[in-house]
Symmetry: none
Subunit: 539 residues, 2 copies
C-alpha cells in the first residue's frame, strides 16, 4: 500500500504574498471550494489577526461544508506577555478554524535580529502559544520558520525548538525553507536526521522557489520521511513563489507511488489550476509543468511524426491523467506531418500524396518564411487549409480602406477609418472613429458587415499582440500582429504580417471575421437591400 | 580548487522550440554576442541542415570573433546510407562551426518506433556519423536522446550506445532526459553508475522541465560526476522548457562551489537574461528565480522591517551577486533611491530634500503607473530629469501631425505623414511617404528639422518594439513603444505610451530626436531663412 501524504494548501495565505496577487473574500471562498473539490486536506485561509477580509472569509467558509480542514495562520505570542492575553492568538481561536498554523523562529540569528529577544524567551513563546491553542481544541501545525538556515548555523537550537513545539502538543512540525536557499541534498540529509532523532513526531515541509528547487526540495523531504506538504497552486507566493502543488501532487502520486488525492481528483488538476489563475487574474505561463497550455505541445517535425506513431515517444505521462491534452503546433521547424495532423484535428481530409496538398504545404512554409506564425493563429491556418480544400466561400470582398490619425498640440488624438467592401452585388462604404487605429478599422468593418451577418454582434477582439520581426531595419521592418477573438462559445486567433502595422492588423482583423462567418451563407440580396441602405444612412 | 563545469547554451537551438519563440538570424547574432560576454563555453546556434536562417547565422557568427565555441546540431546519418553522403552531416561540416552536437537514439523503444530500424543499425549510424565528423576535425558532443528512459527500460543497450559513441571519438557524452519525466534521485543513481562504468568518458547532462525538476536533475547529475551542463537562458524550450541556465549557474557557482564563469560575468546574469527576453520578445515572469524583477522583492510588513535591519534575514544571497537588486514593494524609499542614483550616473545633482526633486519623483512614479517603463528607455528618463532640473532647452515645438494609411484592393498600401513644427519664429510644414506609418512620421519630422540641425542626418532608428499592456481590453488597450536610435557614437532608447499605437510611436520618436539634440542651440534665425525655404521647396 502506498504511503499517504497530507496536502496543505496555503494559496490563500502565503500565495497572496506574491507580487500582483490580491484576493477578495469572495475570491477566496471560490478558490476554497475548488481546492476542496481537488481534495487537498488543509486549506489555510489567511491571518485572522491581520485584516477584516480574512475574518470575513473564516466566517463565511464555515457555511460551505467543506471536507478540507480550514486553517488559520498566526505568530507566537509577543515577547514578555502571556498567550491567553495575546490578541492575535485570540483571533485565531475566534476565527472558528479547525486547525491553527503557528509560526515561530528556529534560527538563532532571527531570534536576536528580528525578534530581538533571548533564545529561552523564544522557546517559551512557542510552548505557551501552542499549549494555549491546544487547550482551545485546535489541531496544531507548527511552522518552524527558517528551519534549514537555523539548522545549518546552530543545529542544537533549531532541534530544541522542534522538541519544545512537540512537547507542547503540536500535531505537525513543519520545516520551512523560508528564504528558499537550501538545496535538495541538504534537505534530504537534514530531514533524514530529524526523522531518526524525533521519533514519533509528524514532519511537514514548506519550501520556496528562489533557487528553482522548491518542488525538488519538497520531494527530498518526503523521501527522507516528511508526511505533509505545504504549497500553493501554481506556485504563487512571495519573491519566486512557494512550492507548486500542481507539480508536487502529480510527481508524488503518478511517479513516486505516494497517495495524495484520488485519480479522479488529480484528473481535475489542470482545470483547477486554470480556474485559480483566472480568479487571481494572473496569466498562467504556457510552459507551466503538467497544467500549462504548452505542457504537452509538440513543435519539432521529427518529434511530431514519432508522437503520431506512439505518444510515449515524447510524453512522460498521459496528459489526460492531469486533465490536460496533447497539442500539435505548426511552425517553420516542422515538417508536413504537423500540418496534416492539424488538418485531421479539423476533420479535413488532406491526402499527403496529392499535388494540392503539396501546394498548400509549400504555401504555408512560404508564409512562415515571410514572418507568419501559425502556431498562435489556428484560425488563419484553418482558413488556408479550407480554402485549399475548396470548401471556403468568401462572404465579403475587400475594396479599400483608409485610416487617418490626427493630432494637434493640446488636443486628444483622433483615429478614423473608412472601409469599402462588397457583399454580393452591394458596395458598402462606412466610416467610424475608434480608440486607436485598429479599433477604428474594426468598428468600420463591423459596421459594414453586421447588417448582413448579425451573429458578428456577439464576437469581439479579446487580445492584440504586435511583434517586430526584423529589428535591424527599425521602422521599415516587418511586424506580425496576432489577434484573438471570442464569442459566447469559443476563442480563435488570427495573424497578419506587413511592413505596415496598420495593414498587418487589417489582415488579422479580416481573417478573424472570415473565421467567425465560417459555415454561413451569403445573404439573400433582396432581403437586405433595405437594411443596407439604412445601415449606410444611420452610421 | 573548485571543479570546473562546462556551460553549453542551446537557447538558439532547443530554446527556439519553445512556443511563441521565433528568432531571426539578426536576433540570434545579438544573443550569441551577449552569451559570449556572459562567458558560456559553447553556443549551439541551430541546425544547418534545416533552414536558410540557420545557415546565415553560422556564416555571420564567424565574423564576430567570439570566445565561445560555436556548435552545429544534427542527427545521425539516415539508416541504410553512408555518413559521408549524408546531406545533413555535410551541412554541419560546411557550417564552419567548431563543434558538432550529434543526436542519436539510446532508447530501444525509439529505435523501433521512431527510427524503425534495428538496434545494430542504430549503433552503426552513431559510430559512422561520429567518425565522419571527427575526421572533419570537429569537436563532438554526442546527445544520447531519451537516455534515462532508455536506461530504465534496457540498461545494457543504453550503455552500449554510449560506449559506441565514446569508441568512435565523441568528446562529450550528454545524457538527455528528453521527455523531462525523470526524478532527481533517479538521475543521481544512474549518472553515478555511469561515472564508475565509463571511466575516462566526459559526461554532460541535458534536462527538461516537465516535472518542474530540470534544475534539480542537472544538479544531481553534476553531483554524480557529470561535467557539462546543457541548458537555455530563461529555461526556454519545448513544452515546459529546458533546464534554466539562469538558475543553474548561480546554484552551482554561488552555492555548490563549482566554477562555471567568473564573478564579474555572473554579475551580468540578470542583465543578460532580460536582454534575451527582450530580443525574444517573451515576457519574463516577475517571479523568475535569481533574475526576475520580484526575485528579491519584499512585500510583507514584518519581513520588510527585518530586511532593513539585516538583508540576510530574508535573502538567500546578495542580489548584486547576480546583478539583480532588492525591492521593497511597500516602501517609497526604493523608488526614490533608484531615481537619485540614476541622476548621479548622469552627473545631475538632485537634492532629495527639495521640493522639485520630490515633484519629479512623483511624476516618474505616476508615468510608470500609466505604463511607461524607464528601465529600457534611459534617454526618456534623462530628458525628464534634465527638464526637472531646468537645464533642458526645447529646440522645436510640436504643432500637429496627420498620418494617413490607404489601401485599395490589388494595390500596395500607402503611408503618408504631414507634420507641422515651429522652430524659433518659423512654422515648418512637411509631408513624406514611408514604408509604414512610423517610418512616414519619422521621415516627415526629420525633413522639418534637418535643415536647422544637420547633425540629425547622422542618426537613425535602430530598433522598434511594441508591447500591448492590458490585454483584457484588446484594441482599446494601451500600448508601449520603445525606440532605439543610434548615431556614429552612441545608442539611446526612448518610450511612448498611448491607447493609440501611432501616438505612442510619435512620442518615442520625438523624445529620440530631442535627446539627439541635447546640448545644441536654437539656430540663428537669419542664417537659416534661406535654407529653410529651400528645404520646403526641395522635399
Amino acid at each position: 500500500m502506498s504511503t499517504s501524504i497530507s496536502i496543505f494548501d496555503t494559496t490563500l495565505r502565503d500565495g497572496t504574498q506574491g507580487e500582483g496577487i490580491s484576493l477578495s473574500a469572495d475570491d477566496k471562498l471560490k478558490i476554497a471550494k475548488k481546492l476542496d473539490e481537488l481534495g487537498v486536506h488543509y486549506i489555510e485561509g489567511g491571518i485572522p489577526g491581520s485584516n477584516g477580509k480574512d475574518i470575513e472569509f473564516f466566517k463565511r467558509v464555515q457555511t460551505l461544508g467543506l471536507n478540507a480542514k480550514i486553517t488559520a495562520f498566526g505568530s507566537t505570542r509577543r515577547k514578555g506577555s502571556s498567550a491567553h492575553e495575546d490578541a492575535n492568538l485570540q483571533r485565531m481561536v475566534e476565527s472558528g478554524a479547525q486547525a491553527a498554523t503557528l509560526v515561530g523562529k528556529s534560527w538563532d540569528f532571527h531570534v536576536h535580529t528580528a525578534l530581538q529577544t533571548t533564545l529561552e524567551e523564544n522557546l517559551a513563546m512557542i510552548s505557551d502559544s501552542i499549549a494555549y491553542l491546544k487547550q482551545q481544541h485546535m489541531e496544531l501545525i507548527f511552522d518552524a520558520e527558517h528551519f534549514f538556515d537555523g539548522y545549518k548555523n546552530n543545529p542544537e537550537y533549531a532541534v530544541s525548538v522542534l522538541r519544545a513545539a512537540h512537547a507542547a502538543g503540536a500535531d505537525w512540525l513543519t520545516l520551512c525553507d523560508t528564504n528558499g536557499g537550501t538545496l535538495p541534498h541538504e534537505v534530504y540529509e537534514i530531514v533524514s536526521r530529524l526523522t531518526a532523532e524525533l521519533d514519533g513526531a509528524s514532519l511537514g515541509i514548506h519550501t520556496h522557489n528562489d533557487c528553482e528547487l522548491a518542488v525538488a526540495n519538497t520531494l527530498s523531504a518526503i523521501q527522507a520521511g516528511a508526511r505533509q506538504v505545504q504549497g500553493t497552486m501554481n506556485g504563487y507566493g512571495e519573491r519566486c513563489g512557494n512550492a507548486n502543488l500542481c507539480s508536487i501532487i502529480p510527481n508524488l502520486q503518478l511517479k513516486m507511488d505516494y497517495a495524495c488525492i484520488t485519480s479522479e481528483q488529480i484528473g481535475q488538476l489542470t482545470n483547477t489550476a486554470r480556474y485559480i489563475s483566472e480568479i487571481a487574474n494572473v496569466h498562467m505561463p504556457v510552459n507551466q509543468p503538467y497544467v500549462g497550455n504548452a505542457a504537452f505541445a509538440h513543435k519539432g517535425g521529427i518529434h511530431v511524426s514519432a508522437i503520431l506513431r506512439d505518444s510515449r515517444t515524447y510524453e512522460h505521462i498521459e496528459p489526460e491523467q492531469v486533465g490536460n491534452k496533447q497539442r500539435i503546433l505548426v511552425s517553420e521547424l516542422a515538417g508536413q506531418s504537423n500540418i496534416l495532423s492539424k488538418a485531421k484535428e479539423m476533420n479535413l481530409e488532406l491526402n499527403p500524396e496529392n499535388e494540392e496538398t503539396r501546394q498548400i504545404i509549400g504555401k504555408i512554409k512560404d508564409l512562415e518564411h515571410q514572418g507568419y506564425q501559425f502556431e498562435g493563429a489556428d484560425a488563419s491556418l484553418e482558413l488556408l487549409l479550407r480554402e485549399a480544400n475548396g470548401e471556403f466561400k468568401e462572404l465579403f470582398v475587400f475594396e479599400s480602406f483608409k485610416m487617418l490619425v490626427e493630432k494637434n498640440a493640446g488636443s486628444a488624438v483622433v483615429s478614423e477609418a473608412f472601409v469599402k467592401v462588397r457583399i454580393g452585388g452591394e458596395s458598402i462604404y462606412t466610416a467610424a472613429e475608434g480608440n486607436g487605429p485598429v479599433n477604428a478599422l474594426d468598428n468600420a468593418l463591423r459596421k459594414a458587415l453586421v447588417e448582413y451577418y448579425p451573429s458578428l454582434r456577439e464576437m469581439h477582439l479579446s487580445d492584440y499582440k504586435v511583434r517586430v520581426l526584423d529589428e535591424a531595419d527599425a521602422t521599415a521592418s516587418k511586424v506580425r500582429v496576432l489577434i484573438e477573438s471570442q464569442n459566447l462559445q469559443t476563442t480563435w486567433s488570427t495573424v497578419g504580417v506587413s511592413a505596415n502595422v496598420i495593414e498587418a492588423s487589417w489582415e488579422a482583423l479580416v481573417d478573424s471575421i472570415r473565421y467567425a462567418l465560417l459555415g454561413q451563407q451569403l445573404p439573400d440580396q433582396s432581403d437586405h437591400q433595405e437594411s443596407t441602405a439604412q445601415g449606410i444612412v444611420n452610421h
